[in-house]
Amino acid sequence: MATMECKIVTLGEGRVGKTSLALKYVKNEFHKDEISTVNANYLTKLVQIPQGSVQLNIWDTAGQERFRAIASNYYRQAKGALIVYDITDRKSFDKVVSWIKELKSQAEKNIVIVVAGNKCDMEKERQINRPEALEFCRKMQIRHFDTSAKSGNGVEEMFMELASQIFEANKGELGQSGRNSRRGKITVEKTKHRENSGKKGGCC
């Protein structure tokens, strides 16, 4: 079975738990006071889904507003995006809308987006109603998950869903990676690199 490598970015406002979610999923670790991310962290995990296996390269970005200026570097070739908001913080939910807009206009066309309402272990302090969030996501045709990096609720399911959706969306590419050389300079180099490493034969 072929392994698909794909890049995922975590987006969202500061302190909503992007790093915690990624860490929980990849290393099963949780720190109450995760230090703030400057620019980006990189994590990776191999996921087995029924159709095949997907290697998720997770780029965990900084949440601060001003880093948005350089965030485009990260979602440039991303096949999946995880937009996180804090269910106890209305402002962070509002940011989700702008992120989705930005991704739809700037990122790859077939990018898979998933929204996560994090910190669902703090149900008492909830500010965003669940129906409201679900309704919003349904309109946008995006899957919504309730997650908690603290307890691990919904984290596994969310990444699995993301992986399988990405697999579905990029199924065509997997078999014939050589054809997509039009996409840009970097992909050409990528295929070259693969050839060098001896995975695929054939001419360029």
């Binding site: 703030s36 400057v38 990189y42 880093f67 350089i70 570097n73 180099e189 690199h193």
Partner: protein, 538 residues
């Protein structure tokens, strides 16, 4: 006589079954026949015994038939034997008693033969008795002899056993004594060894003590000398009230002073301060002090900033937006274990004095790091304020849009291609943009290593030494140095490994040695800056 015999005499007859019956015995008148009858029974039973039938009558002498003397007798006939005893109860009892004792004695001392002989001796008179006695005596003697022999044997055995036991006891005692003595000997040996050891140690310690004493006295002498010198130096200064030494001499002196001494000197008097400041203003000299590894660095940094950079804070400050202060609060209170409050205060004040610079993540690392060195919010504020300006350009680095960051990455990219072409190619092949790696390095001025990786502070301080001296160019050279150090680890690794090595496993050991090698001409960087500005404009 016949009349006596024919009259009945009462006796007691013993039947076979041991029953006793009173009977009367008498002879008929012809003395041919003896009758035994039972007169007291209801019927009279008469047993007649023909005299011819008599075989013997024991102990019954018819010639002197004295009834009172007859104790018991037996009549043996051809057909039967009859046993009788005296009718007189007292006599009979005595007889039985004697008989019993006799039987008892016989059983104890004589065999059945002896008894028989004894009885015969009684029957045959004095002679027999004597012979029996002799027999008895002899037997007794033999027995005694046997007993004596046995006793002797026993005694002998006892003696032998005693002898053996005594010998064994003596052997055991000997053995135990020997063992004890051996043990004692061993103990004594060990003790003597220990003694010698301890003595040696004592001597060693004594010698060490003597040496130490000597050292102490030496040091004291040195201190005295130094004090004398200081007084010598002081005197003319106090006297004249102005600087006597020329700058040249001061430079010579300062090179040999620690940072702490310099501080002390500056406090001493105004003229002295002026003199030191004059010297310190020539950076070349400072560099010798700063990079010579003088400790403690904290004081050095303090001195450095007081001397070289304008650390006065402008009086005007502006309000900070609530969202920014909340952001600062959030960032500072997660991640750090100490100085949270002070760091927050510093950052908010910094934003107040520099309204154009909003808070940027990364600043809190620097503020926290500097507070760890200066331990005073006021000083950190001053230092950070001066760090914002050239030649450090931190305000451009942190300002919205990250113009300095982009410039830095551009410069670094250019230099990497020239200086480390293999690494540059490797990163390109893996589609790693430099900004992914370098951004946190720049934005936190390398302090991020301390918090993310628990790197020893010294390595970061070394980078900071250069940063304080050279400003912006040193950051580029520090990046190049780190890339150089990791190059051999990273090459031929895949994306994930490369990124983890560049993030977590940088070998900082050789940092101080390799840093000077990658010093970059500031002129080159300026040229690059120009070309970058041109590129971005078009």
């Amino acid at each position: 006589m016949i009349k006596f015999l024919t009259t009945p005499h009462s006796f007691i007859k013993y039947s076979r079954s041991g029953k006793r019956k009173c009977v009367s015995i008498y002879f008929n008148e012809t003395l041919q026949k003896m009758s035994i009858d039972k007169p007291r029974a209801s019927y009279i039973l008469i047993t007649d015994i023909q005299v011819a039938e008599f075989i013997s009558i024991s102990n019954l002498n018819f010639s002197s038939f004295d009834l009172s003397k007859i104790l018991a007798f037996r009549i043996f006939t051809t057909k039967k034997s009859y046993e009788f005893s005296s009718d007189n109860k007292v006599l009979r009892d005595e007889f039985v008693k004697n008989l019993n004792t006799l039987i008892k004695l016989s059983r104890e001392y004589m065999s059945s033969m002896g008894l028989k002989k004894y009885c015969e001796s009684i029957i045959h008179g004095q002679q027999g008795e004597n012979s029996l006695r002799a027999l008895y005596k002899s037997k007794h003697q033999v027995q005694e002899k046997q007993v004596n022999q046995k006793l002797n044997q026993d005694m002998l055995e006892k003696q032998v056993i005693q002898g053996v036991v005594n010998s064994i006891i003596s052997i055991i005692e000997k053995n135990s004594k020997e063992r004890d003595s051996k043990k004692f000997k061993r103990l004594i040996k060990e003790n003597t060894k220990e003694k010698t050891r301890l003595n040696e140690k004592q001597e060693k310690i004594k010698s060490i003590l003597i040496k130490k004493d000597q050292e102490i006295s030496m040091l004291k002498q040195k201190i005295h000398k130094v004090e004398n010198q200081i007084e010598m130096i002081k005197k003319p200064l106090w006297q004249s009230g102005s600087c006597i030494f020329s700058v040249k001499i001061w430079t010579l002196i300062i090179e040999f002073l620690s940072a702490g001494d310099v501080v002390w000197m500056r406090i001493a008097s105004r003229s002295l301060r002026n003199a030191t400041d004059k010297v310190l203003h020539t950076k070349a000299v400072w560099r010798k002090i700063g990079l010579g590894g003088l400790q403690p660095r904290e004081i050095m940094y303090k001195l450095y900033f007081k001397n070289f950079y304008n650390t006065s804070i402008r009086g005007v400050f502006y309000d900070v937006e609530e969202s920014i202060s909340a952001e600062i609060h959030n960032d500072v209170w997660r991640g750090f274990n100490d100085f949270n409050k002070e760091t927050e205060e510093i950052l908010i004040l910094l934003c107040k004095y520099n309204p154009s610079l909003c808070y940027c993540q990364g600043m809190h690392f620097v503020a926290h790091f500097l507070y760890g060195i200066y331990k005073s919010t006021d000083e950190v504020l001053k230092v950070m304020d001066s760090l914002l300006r050239p030649p450090f350009y931190l305000s451009e680095l942190w300002k919205d849009g990250f113009s300095r960051l982009r410039l830095g990455i551009f410069q670094l990219d250019f230099l990497l291609k020239i200086k480390l072409p293999f690494l540059s190619k490797h990163l390109k092949d893996l589609e790693i943009n430099l900004d992914m790696i370098v951004t946190p390095w720049f934005l936190t001025v390398f302090t991020y290593f301390k918090y993310e990786l628990d790197l020893p502070k010294d390595s970061i301080l070394e980078i900071w030494d250069h940063f304080l001296l050279q400003g912006w160019p040193s950051l580029i050279s520090a990046c190049l140095t780190i890339f150089h150090l990791t190059e051999h680890l990273v090459l031929e690794k895949n994306l994930e490994q490369t990124l983890t090595i560049l993030k977590n496993k940088i070998p900082f050991k050789n940092l101080s040695k390799t840093l000077p090698k990658f010093e970059i001409d500031p002129q080159l960087l300026e040229d690059l800056e120009l070309s970058h500005v041109c590129n971005s404009e078009f």
